[in-house]
Amino acid sequence: MPEPLIFEKSRPGREGATVPACDVPETAIPPALCRSRLDLPELAEGDIVRHYVRLSHMNYSVDTGLYPLGSCTMKYNPKVNEVAARMAGFSQLHPLQDPATVQGALELLHRLQGMIGEIGGFEAVSLQPSAGAHGELTGILVMRAYHLSRGEPQRTRILVPDSAHGTNPATTSMAGLEVIEIPSDSRGNVDLIELRAHLDDRVAGLMLTNPNTLGLFDEHLLEVTRLVHDAGGLVYGDGANFNALLGVAKPGQMGIDIMHFNLHKTFSTPHGGGGPGSGAVGASAELAEFLPGPVVARVEEAGNARYEWRVPLQSIGRMKSFHGNFGVLVRAYTYIRMLGPEGLRAVAENAVLNANYLQARLKDVYPIPHGDRTCMHEFVAQGSFSAAPGIRALDVSKRLIDLGFHPPTNYFPLIVHEALMIEPTETESIETLDSFVQAMRTIAREAVESPELLRDAPHSSPVKRLDEVKAAKELKVTAGET
């Protein structure tokens, strides 16, 4: 049942919230400053609630079922996080309050800085970036500033593997640097020969996602980072896939100089339908003073600890207003506190175990280009069948919807044809994994026996396949536009 637009349910004179009467003498507002009309919906509260509840019924979510989107880490979002973030002592703080009045919040941030630093092996952490891409821009600007400070302005190139997420080259361009693409080798690692060929004193650094978007841990990681450092460059770590490494390895110890963490992936904060996220950035001692400010510093005074804001000495500047997505940071802190070192390691172990289990149970029906290798927390299969040449990854995905699952990531990484990137996460039970395997095996059979079921899918969703060509050609992005 389609739900009308909220504007279509509006009726003149209806009102939702109540606003108090004015308890002070009124001062006239000059009419020349006032707008003549404001077209916003007018509904009673009950109708507003129904509208949004009905919209919510049209959404699949982690709380509905398995959401195996590769590199998104759609793990269960603990409800305790929501309780913590909503405490008035956190949610009702104004960001510009005197530090003396918000010591509890500052202490939480300081502890979280330390925890992320410890988990990743980094000396310093900025909690300011709001998302992974924001963290990436932070990291690349830090790298650029570092080279400038050392009298090396000619380092304007960033090496980006061909398996990289689109944000990596987009970030590099935003920072005013040049993207040089490095191919992967036949085993899915960064091609060492190509890497060596491109390393010179024009290179600012390498952006590396490890495990990469094929779900593979680079077999030459230490060699890769050493080569970049020997050429005078830095290594940026894209932490989107860090769920495989919690308690398993510290990137900061393996040659990564600066790295972002996606708190809304690895650290269980909810995705919100597209945010808010948080892209906390960890940096080595050498890069610490270039981080965006302010960060939280702890000062010992007469046996007491006091927390205050501090701007790193060579900071690249502010990446956003205020301090970062504090509400998201509270959730990440709560998660890390509950899990502890054993819990974090168990996350990575079970995430990797679950992914390898799926890979093992699907490799006979779906081509898995690197299925001979142990995958990490995700793997890439191909949604194509030699016995069903007209069927594509898109069709497999849409049919999965009919079978009750959210599809995996489609068409990424670009280096695998008809890619299906599958990441179960550690919070899925073996029964769920088995049902997913069942569904995927059914679809593989249907692809050959009744392909129209795939091509016409989804059948059971609130809407059928949507016309994206029409949406782009006949651009309608505001209600009431003609």
Partner: protein
């Protein structure tokens, strides 16, 4: 183990299917010397212990729900109707991902389409995107858009000193690699002077209304500025707090090309600075140079109306190094919250909230004007005003907090060194008359040497 279903039996079955003896065998690609490091972190806490600890941290903070707050400066204490959090707590919205599979994400997509439409109407613009991280990054992205509209041929960006200092700082951070000429905000220039700095090498002029000092830019002044900016072939970017737009003429009607701002005032708690909501509204003719997600209307195979993200070829996942921005995850759940807020209040409610802010601030200013040692700067302000104090602002605020439990206003000297002893005072609908009287009486006290 927290949140992990796998039992030892489950793990054994999976290991058998994979064909390895133990879980550790799945990590042989990790260099041995770095494998399984110890993590120096506190031991795991059960839920009740974690909450107790968090409660203790929360209790050490003075917060706006229980302390009178007169602090604004880009983040505001407004009333949030209960429906807003009710909707945001629905996990179908909060635990969903970006709508890459639109058929099962119509809840998010339609809500975003509705949000875009409301922001467009509120700002008097044609189109809005689905959100940026906050007002500051939205302003930076607006400048980047202006540079792209000018095909990267123009090198000058004119900024007004009245634009929030943190917004200008973020614009500078974002543009640091581009060799541009950012000027205009060394002093507090008039609109005429800013327009005078605009030439044919200028990509855009950025102003704010109400500005950081609370001053409203009258629509006809803004329109005149728009004319001179357009005559140079540049864009006019206006940063605007959305709450005053409940009553004030929106920048779109005065000739703005891009309107950006902080949506926090639309139903989002102060949250110690985030997550907030950068709104971004612009002219339809520039849509292909815009950044951020955009939800669009279409139909499905059965002809049923539905919503998808559209114009994705601008974005990083398709256009990669040629994308208009690198943004991926944005502030979707907060955009939903803002849409719910705007719907709950409706046009009359938003107008009344804005009017209450105006009346309360003007009442406070009138009372302060009669306190010896204090002076309110003469200007047309909305709900924030600059107040000269007889003592440094830090001293006044410390005394306000320690003696009266009041959260005082912003110390303008922190960003504008020539504005010594000047506090930016903010009043919203949350400040009752009694609270305002309490505050102004307290000012008399704290103003003594």
């Amino acid at each position: 183990m927290s949140f992990i279903p796998n039992t030892p039996e489950d793990r054994a079955r999976m290991l058998a299917a994979i064909g390895v003896p133990s879980v550790a065998d799945l990590f042989t690609d990790v260099p041995a010397e770095h494998r399984f490091p110890s993590l120096d972190l506190p031991a795991p806490a059960a839920e009740q212990d974690a909450l107790r600890e968090l409660d203790a941290l929360a209790a050490r903070n003075t917060e706006c729900a229980h302390a009178p707050c007169f602090l604004g400066a880009g983040a505001y204490h407004h009333f949030i109707p209960s429906v807003v959090d009710f909707v945001l707590s629905r996990s179908e919205f909060s635990t969903a991902y970006t709508p890459y599979q639109p058929e099962i994400s119509q809840g998010t997509l339609q809500a975003i389409f509705e949000y875009q439409s409301m922001i467009a109407r509120l700002t008097g613009m044609e189109v809005s995107n689905a959100s940026h991280y906050d007002g500051a990054t939205a302003a930076a992205e607006a400048v980047v858009m202006a540079l792209n509209v000018a095909q990267r041929q123009r090198r000058r960006v004119v900024l007004s000193a009245g634009v929030h200092p943190q917004y200008r700082a973020v614009v500078r951070t974002y543009l640091q690699g581009m060799g541009l000429d950012l000027c205009g905000d060394e002093t507090d220039r008039s609109l005429e002077d800013l327009g005078g700095l605009c030439d044919d090498s200028t990509a855009c002029v950025v102003v704010q209304s109400p500005d950081f000092f609370g001053r409203i830019v009258p629509p006809d002044s803004l329109a005149r500025l728009a004319q001179s900016v357009h005559a140079c072939g540049a864009l006019l970017v206006v940063a605007a707090n959305p709450v005053p737009l409940g009553v004030l003429v929106p920048p779109g009607e005065a000739g703005a090309d891009v309107v950006v701002g902080e949506g926090q005032g639309l139903g989002i708690a102060p949250s110690f600075g985030g997550p907030y909501l950068g709104y971004f509204a612009f002219r339809r003719e520039n849509v292909r140079k815009s950044s951020g997600r955009i939800a669009g209307e279409t139909v499905d195979r059965a002809g049923t109306r539905g919503y998808v993200f559209t114009l994705s070829t601008r974005e990083q996942h398709i256009r990669r190094e040629k994308a208009t921005s690198n943004i991926c995850t944005n502030q979707s759940l907060l955009a939903l919250g803002a849409a719910v807020y705007m719907t709950c209040l409706g046009p009359r409610g938003l107008r009344r909230v804005a009017e209450l802010c105006w009346h309360k601030a003007h009442y406070a200013a009138a009372r302060i004007a009669s306190i010896p040692g204090y002076a309110v700067e003469e200007c047309e302000f909305f709900h924030e005003f600059a107040m000269k104090c007889p003592v440094p602002v830090d001293v006044a605020n410390k005394r306000l907090h320690e003696r009266f439990g009041i959260i005082g206003g912003y110390n303008l000297a922190a960003d504008y060194p020539d504005r010594k002893n000047t506090m930016l005072v903010c009043c919203t609908e949350m400040n009752s008359r009694a609270e305002i009287d309490f505050f102004t009486d307290a000012l008399k006290e704290v103003g003594r040497a």
